[in-house]
C-alpha cells in the first residue's frame, strides 16, 4: 500500500515539477528576464492564493467550479501514463488512449469555465476552445496512433522500449511536431491561446481570480509539462542515451522539448481558430495520415524490429 502511495506521490510531484519548469520557461520567454524569473511562477501562485475569489451575477456555480478543479486533476491524471524514471504509474494495453482521453475531457472542462460565469468574453472564449478542439483533436489522435503503430503497442513503456535502435522522431517528424502543437492547443497556450486571448480580455480566464485562477493556470502548465515529457518518451527514446543514467536523459530530453516548445510558441502570434479549422483539416489531417501510412509501410518492412 505504501508503495502505491509513494508512486502516486512521485507522479504528482513530477507533474507539478514539470509544470513549474514550463511556467518558468514561459515567463523567461515572455518577459526576457533572466533566470530570476524561475521563482515567478511560485510568486504568482502565492499571489493567487492571497487573492479573493469572485462570483458573478447568476453564474452556473456548480459547473463552473467543478470545471476549474477538473483542469488540474485531468492534467495530473494524464501523468499516469507518462514515464517517471523507467516506469509508468498506469501500465495497460491502452496507455496512449488514456493520455488522449484526458485531453479530450478538457473539451468539457474548458467550455464550462467559459460558460459558468455568465459573462460575454468568457463565453466567447469557451466556444473558441471547442472550435480549436474540432480542428486539432484528429491530428493529435493520428500523431499518437503513429507512435503506437511504430511500437505495435499502446503501452508507453513498450513505445519507449521499441526505440532502443532508432528514435521515432527520425521516422515520424510530422507526428512529433503535430503532437506538441496539438498539446499546446489543448492547453490553449502560445499560438493557440485564442480562448484566453487579450482581445476578449482573457476569455475563459477573464472572470477567474484567487484559487480558481490558480487551479486553471496550474492545470495548463502541468498539461504542457506532461506533454513535453510524453513527447520525449514517445518520439525521443525516453531515457535512452549514453553515459548518463536513464532518468537524467529523460529529464534532459524533457527540458529540451520544453525549451523548444516555449521558444517556438512564443515567437508566433495567435493562429486564429476560424482559419486554423480549414488548415487543420486540409493540411494537418492529410499530413498526419501520410505520416501514419509511411510508418505502417516501415512496420511491414520490419524497420522497427
Amino acid at each position: 500500500m505504501w508503495g502505491l502511495w509513494t508512486a502516486v506521490g512521485l507522479v504528482v510531484a513530477a507533474g507539478l515539477g514539470l509544470g513549474l519548469v514550463f511556467a518558468a520557461a514561459d515567463r523567461v520567454a515572455l518577459t526576457g528576464a533572466g533566470p530570476k524569473a524561475l521563482v515567478e511562477p511560485v510568486r504568482s501562485a502565492l499571489r493567487s492564493l492571497l487573492e479573493q475569489r469572485r462570483t458573478t451575477l447568476a453564474p452556473d456555480r456548480l459547473l463552473w467550479r467543478t470545471a476549474c478543479a477538473a483542469v488540474p486533476v485531468l492534467a495530473l491524471l494524464s501523468m499516469a501514463v507518462v514515464p517517471v524514471g523507467d516506469r509508468t504509474l498506469l501500465s495497460t494495453s491502452a496507455d496512449l488512449v488514456w493520455f488522449n482521453a484526458m485531453e479530450a475531457l478538457l473539451w468539457a472542462a474548458v467550455w464550462l469555465i467559459g460558460w459558468g460565469p455568465n459573462a460575454v468574453h468568457s463565453l466567447v472564449g469557451g466556444y473558441r476552445f471547442l472550435a480549436q478542439g474540432v480542428a486539432y483533436e484528429l491530428p493529435l489522435m493520428f500523431a499518437i496512433i503513429t507512435a503506437g503503430l511504430g511500437a505495435g503497442s499502446l503501452r508507453t513503456t513498450d513505445v519507449v522500449a521499441a526505440q532502443s535502435d532508432l528514435w521515432f522522431v527520425v521516422t515520424m517528424p510530422v507526428a512529433f511536431v503535430v503532437f506538441l502543437g496539438s498539446a499546446a492547443a489543448f492547453a490553449f497556450w502560445g499560438p493557440f491561446a485564442a480562448p484566453a486571448g487579450a482581445d476578449i480580455a482573457g476569455g475563459v480566464l477573464s472572470e477567474l481570480s484567487g484559487v480558481e485562477r490558480l487551479l486553471v493556470e496550474a492545470g495548463r502548465v502541468v498539461l504542457l509539462g506532461a506533454s513535453a515529457a510524453m513527447a520525449a518518451a514517445l518520439f525521443l527514446g525516453g531515457g535512452s542515451g549514453p553515459w548518463l543514467p536513464d532518468p537524467v536523459w529523460q529529464l534532459l530530453k524533457t527540458l529540451l522539448v520544453t525549451a523548444v516548445l516555449v521558444g517556438v510558441g512564443r515567437r508566433l502570434p495567435v493562429l486564429r481558430p476560424d482559419r486554423a479549422v480549414e488548415l487543420a483539416w486540409m493540411v494537418l489531417v492529410p499530413a498526419t495520415l501520410l505520416q501514419a501510412l509511411v510508418v505502417a509501410l516501415l512496420v511491414l518492412a520490419g524497420a522497427y524490429g
Partner: protein, 367 residues
C-alpha cells in the same frame, strides 16, 4: 515583520496592473507602460486579474462611472491610485505598491452584492419613478419580453445571417479593454460572436488642461499603434518589443538616434515578415472584399494592409497609403457591421480614428 506579512509582501511584489487612461494622456500612458515593463509588472487583462488599478488623467463623468464599476469587480487585495502626470512616476508606483501590501494586511468591508450594484449603478430605464424597483426586479415588469432574472434581462431574439431566429445579446466593448483605443465605446448586438448594429462613440474627455497634447513623432505613434495591434493579435513578445522601440523613439537621445532607428526598423520588419500574422489577419475588415490586385500601389484595405502601413511608418519609411481605411466613427461602424468579435477587435486596433481635437464634453455630462 511577521511571516504572513512577509509572504504577502513578496507575493505582491509584482502586482498586475490595470491601466485606465482618460483621453488625451497617451504620451503619459507610454511612460507608465515603459516603467511597468521595466519592473516586470504584468498588465492585467480584466478586473479579475487586477491588483493595482492605475487611473491616468482626470476622467470625465462617463469614464468615472466605468472606473467605479470596474473597481467593484476587482478582488481583494487591491489598490486604486490616480497617477499624476507632473509627479515622479517611479515614486508613485512605489507608493502604490506599498499601499497594495497595506491593503492586503487589512480586510475591506464587504461590498454590496452584484444585484444591488445593478440597481445602484444601472440607469433605471423606464421606471425611475417606480419606487426603485430595480433592486429586486423579480417581478418581470420590465420592457424586455422574457422578464428579468436576478435583476438582469434575458437576451432578445432576432434573425441572424443564416436565417435562423436566435438570441441577440446587447454588448458593449470599451472604454477599458486591453489594446482598445482610449475612450472609445462600441455598443452593438452579438449573435454568437458576430457583431451587428454597431455604434461607436467617444466617452467624455479629460478636463485636465495638461492633457490633450500628444507631443510625439509620427514614428513613435505608429509604434504605439503597432504595439496595440500585436497585443490584440495575441503576440505578446512582439508587442513588448514594439513598446521598447516606442520608448526609445520617444526618448530624446540624439547620440543614439541611429541605433534607435535600427531597433525600430528591426521590430517593424519582424512584424511585416511574419507569415503567421499575415495568414491570421489577411482579409479581415477588408474595405473592398479582397479585390485589390497584388501589385497595386495601395495596400489592401484590410488589417494586414494596416499592419504593413504602421510598420512602414514605424520604421521611418515612406508609408503606403491604405485604401479606404476609415477615419470617422460612422465609417468605422459600417466596416464593423457583421464582423466577428476577434476580427472587429483587430480592425479597431488597426484604425487611425480621428478624435475631435477639443474635448468632447456636452452640457449634460459636465462635471
Amino acid at each position: 515583520m511577521d511571516l504572513t506579512g512577509r509572504i504577502r509582501r513578496w507575493a505582491l511584489g509584482r502586482p498586475r496592473v490595470l491601466v485606465i487612461d482618460a483621453p488625451g494622456g497617451e504620451r503619459f500612458r507610454w511612460q507608465l507602460e515603459d516603467e511597468l515593463d521595466r519592473r516586470h509588472w504584468p498588465l492585467a487583462l480584466s478586473p479579475a486579474d487586477t491588483d493595482l488599478a492605475l487611473v491616468l488623467g482626470r476622467p470625465g463623468a462617463q469614464l468615472a462611472a466605468a472606473i467605479e464599476l470596474l473597481w467593484s469587480q476587482v478582488p481583494q487585495p487591491r489598490h486604486r491610485q490616480d497617477i499624476a502626470a507632473d509627479g515622479d512616476l517611479p515614486a508613485q508606483l512605489d507608493a502604490a505598491s506599498v499601499a497594495l501590501v497595506d491593503a492586503a494586511n487589512r480586510t475591506e468591508p464587504v461590498q454590496p452584492g452584484a444585484q444591488t450594484q445593478l440597481g445602484n449603478l444601472g440607469p433605471e430605464p423606464d421606471d425611475v419613478d417606480d419606487e426603485h424597483a430595480g433592486h429586486s426586479g423579480h417581478e418581470g415588469h420590465h420592457m424586455h419580453h422574457g422578464g428579468d432574472v436576478a435583476g438582469l434581462a434575458m437576451a432578445d431574439t432576432a434573425p441572424d445571417r443564416d436565417g435562423l431566429t436566435l438570441d441577440v445579446l446587447r454588448v458593449a466593448l470599451g472604454p477599458v479593454l486591453p489594446g482598445w483605443p482610449t475612450g472609445l465605446v462600441l455598443t452593438g448586438s452579438m449573435q454568437g460572436d458576430v457583431l451587428t448594429g454597431v455604434e461607436l462613440a467617444w466617452v467624455d474627455g479629460s478636463d485636465d488642461p495638461n492633457h490633450g497634447v500628444l507631443q510625439a513623432t509620427p514614428q513613435a505613434v505608429a509604434m504605439d499603434q503597432l504595439a496595440r495591434i500585436l497585443l490584440v493579435a495575441g503576440w505578446p513578445t512582439a508587442a513588448a518589443a514594439a513598446r521598447r522601440a516606442r520608448r526609445d523613439l520617444s526618448g530624446s537621445h540624439p547620440q543614439r538616434a541611429a541605433q534607435t532607428q535600427r531597433a525600430a526598423a528591426r521590430v517593424a520588419s519582424r512584424v511585416r515578415g511574419s507569415r503567421a500574422l499575415r495568414w491570421s489577419v489577411q482579409g479581415i475588415g477588408s474595405t473592398d472584399r479582397g479585390m485589390t490586385p497584388a501589385g497595386s500601389a495601395h495596400a489592401a484595405g484590410d488589417v494586414w494592409g494596416g499592419v504593413r502601413h504602421w510598420c512602414d511608418v514605424a520604421a521611418g519609411g515612406e508609408p503606403v497609403p491604405v485604401a479606404g481605411s476609415p477615419r470617422s466613427l460612422t465609417e468605422a461602424s459600417i466596416l464593423l457591421e457583421g464582423s466577428e468579435l476577434a476580427a472587429a477587435r483587430l480592425v479597431v486596433a488597426t484604425m487611425d480614428l480621428e478624435r475631435p481635437a477639443t474635448r468632447v464634453e456636452t452640457e449634460s455630462t459636465g462635471v
